[in-house]
Amino acid sequence: MRVALFATCLVDNLRPRIGLASARLLQDHGCEVVVPPSQTCCGQPGYNNGDVRGARALARKTITEFEGFDYVVVPSGSCAGMIIQHYPRLFRDEPDWRARAESLAARCHELTHFLSHVLDIRLDRTFEGRVTYHDSCSSLRELGIHGAPRTLLSQMHGLVLLEMKETEVCCGFGGTFSVKFDEISERMASNKTRRVRETGADVLAAADLGCLLNIAGRLRREDGGPRIFHIAELLAGMADGAGIGGPDKA
């Protein structure tokens, strides 16, 4: 099957290896992976900041780029949520575009959901370590994803999954919220890092780079904490360096 990977602008620019890890996971399980070269941002920043017209323009661009694939996979709950939940809403009053948006939404999956529910993969990799998993709000509430990442992590040999308290509470990222209301965002991040530390895990994983940058940024300011990886890095056997924001740059 032909699967298009929508890397997301954060992954593309800040941590390309998440894209690589995602592609590797898909290829390992029989997908022909295509990365449309003109892809950029899904339009969420504009959408959430009042610029609906700008968001619509980017949605049209993304819809066009990702037509003709069996599936579109996104290593981010937030960007997948934008495409699946919000693109159709953006074209409420434009039937043609609405149909195209709905077609994309129907083919689009967040990475862990795709691996677990569509490919139904069984991993045969080892990761020795205690891992705690952070649910992004978009994954959890916009897409209803809770079991998939846990199922995948628990397939890894040697991996111990430790649940933190309040996994359903936001880490405080929220896109531009993190800078517009930086103090509140920071407090929310501190609450989250406390929960992360309480688990005693050596690794924090999540499926959204936005959350990970935020939590990593706070942990580093607090001077330490577990290593941090996108779940794709863990699952693809690429979680070997210092992790996101880690002291020796991977």
């Binding site: 390309p16 950029t40 610029d51 700008g54 980017l58 709000c137 706070r218 996101i244």
Partner: protein, 475 residues
């Protein structure tokens, strides 16, 4: 409400985060509401069916609001009461003051009423020379503190026991209470004694309404303290304040909503008291009390016909506040208006004007928990996003931010230019990284105040992947 109170959310949030007693009080309140609601909802058979029914009840009523209001009014009159209509807050205040004057009121007992807060009734009554006493313990506490409520169902949530004791000592001295207080029981007993006296002396009792029932002309209030009932029953005149959106067609409809209200609010299956008042009440002296209803529009009719109609389904349970990570960290006062939290961030701008509350729609990380727990299925994040869109279109959003947002969208629709800029930028930032994090940079000021920014890895996934594919294909 004065016009400017919504401004400076950021500043007030800052003060709130630094306010230790407030943070202690919020911490104490925190998990209790969430855990209790969770338990109550889990134990409720047919929650989703009730939720969907509740939504359709309100939608049906809103579809036929004038017809049901006319029926409601006719029933109140048939039961011997009177209905008064107020277009806005000022008209409502005048009506209430006029009714109180006609009742010869020197003292007014008040049950908890958010519409009363919304129209600024207490100050108006006092300016008219009447004593207005809040009888809900939480409302009484904040009345002594001269503060607005910080939560729609737990108005004194932000106060610690020590603060309450200090206030009671200061204010109750004149009533002859000087004994030191320590326990919650002692605090409650002292308030009970003082307020019992106020109930008995009051000439008018004013309550809000959780629901109005069209079929019977009843008003419904739910309380745990019983203060609302004493307020309604003891004084010779009972005035009910209600906004138009409180209406439901039948007692059965109210019953459906009641099944959700207490569980969503406090996690109770039902509050201690749920009361249906219909017309004048028989009194011990053989006379009947007077019964008035003041129906208040105050922007509801405008909201009904616009993009924010969903908000009129709100039953003021407070679940969105309790589950909001912004609210639970900064408390209600930071929001500046009558209604805090997610529902307040929608309602505030709608009532007071978007330009008067520019920060509120933005004070959300869109985590979505509010919509998830809302018993009335109000899509709060969608409404907040719509308000942000209105701000953008009406140029209330600051120019710099609008330009930045537009520029981002524009740049991303030009992939070649985007890559030409992003590539070198990421390469530079990657080189600037030390120990995996970026040094302080001017553009990252807000982020870096309390957090590090992880350094980019360098390179672009999309470009490199396709470059490699290109090569493989040529080979």
């Amino acid at each position: 409400m004065t016009a400017n109170t919504h401004h400076r959310f950021r500043d007030k949030a800052h003060a709130a985060l630094m306010d230790e007693p407030l943070q202690r009080a919020m911490d104490k309140a925190g998990d209790g509401f969430i855990a209790r609601r969770q338990t109550a909802i889990a134990a409720l058979d047919q929650y989703e069916a009730l939720r969907s029914r509740a939504k359709s009840i309100k939608e049906h009523t809103l579809d036929h609001l004038p017809e049901y209001l006319e029926r409601y009014e006719a029933q109140v009159i048939a039961s011997g009461g009177q209905v008064h209509w107020a277009r806005d807050a000022e008209e409502a205040r005048k009506l209430v003051i006029d009714l109180c004057r006609r009742a010869g009121a020197g003292s007014v007992a008040k049950g908890k009423s958010m519409i009363g807060e919304e129209i600024g009734l207490n100050h108006a009554l006092e300016a008219a020379g009447m004593e207005a006493v809040e009888t809900d313990l939480g409302e009484y506490i904040i009345q002594l503190a001269e503060e607005p409520p910080s939560h729609i169902i737990a108005p004194a949530l932000h106060k610690t026991r020590e603060q309450i004791i200090a206030m009671f000592r200061e204010h109750h001295r004149s009533h002859g209470y000087t004994e030191p207080l320590e326990t919650v029981a002692e605090i409650v007993d002292e308030a009970r004694a003082i307020l019992r006296d106020k109930f008995l002396k009051a000439d008018v009792g004013i309550t809000g309404a959780n629901f109005l029932i069209a079929e019977t002309g009843s008003s419904v209030i739910v309380t745990n303290e019983g203060n609302g009932d004493l307020t309604a029953l003891l004084p010779p005149t009972h005035i009910v304040l209600a906004s138009l959106d409180k209406l439901v067609p039948t007692p059965e409809d109210a019953t459906t909503l009641l099944r959700l209200l207490a569980r969503s609010a406090t996690g109770q299956e039902s509050t201690a008291y749920t009361s249906f008042f219909t017309g004048p009440k028989p009194r011990n002296d053989g006379h009947e009390s007077a019964y008035h209803v003041v129906l208040i529009d105050n922007s509801r009719s405008r909201i009904l016909h616009g993009k924010y109609r969903d908000m009129l389904r709100c039953i003021r349970c407070g679940a969105c506040l309790n589950h909001c990570p912004v609210y639970t960290n900064v408390g209600g006062h930071a929001y500046g208006g009558v209604y805090p939290g997610p529902m307040g961030s929608v309602l505030g701008p709608l009532l007071d004007g978007l330009a008067q509350a520019p920060e509120l729609p933005n004070a959300s990380s869109f985590c979505g928990r509010c919509a998830e727990v809302c018993p009335m299925s109000i899509p709060l994040p969608e409404l907040l996003r719509q308000l942000r869109n209105d701000q953008f279109e009406e140029r209330i959003t600051p120019l710099r931010q609008r330009c930045a947002t537009r520029l981002w969208s524009w740049l991303n629709t030009h992939p070649r230019l985007y890559r030409a800029l992003a590539g070198p930028a990421m390469a530079l930032l990657s080189r600037m990284g030390r120990n995996g994090i970026l040094p302080r940079l001017p553009g990252l000021g807000a982020w870096q105040r309390g957090r590090e920014f992880p350094a980019p890895e360098g390179g672009s996934f999309v470009r490199e992947w396709n470059r490699r594919r290109g090569r493989t294909r040529h080979e």
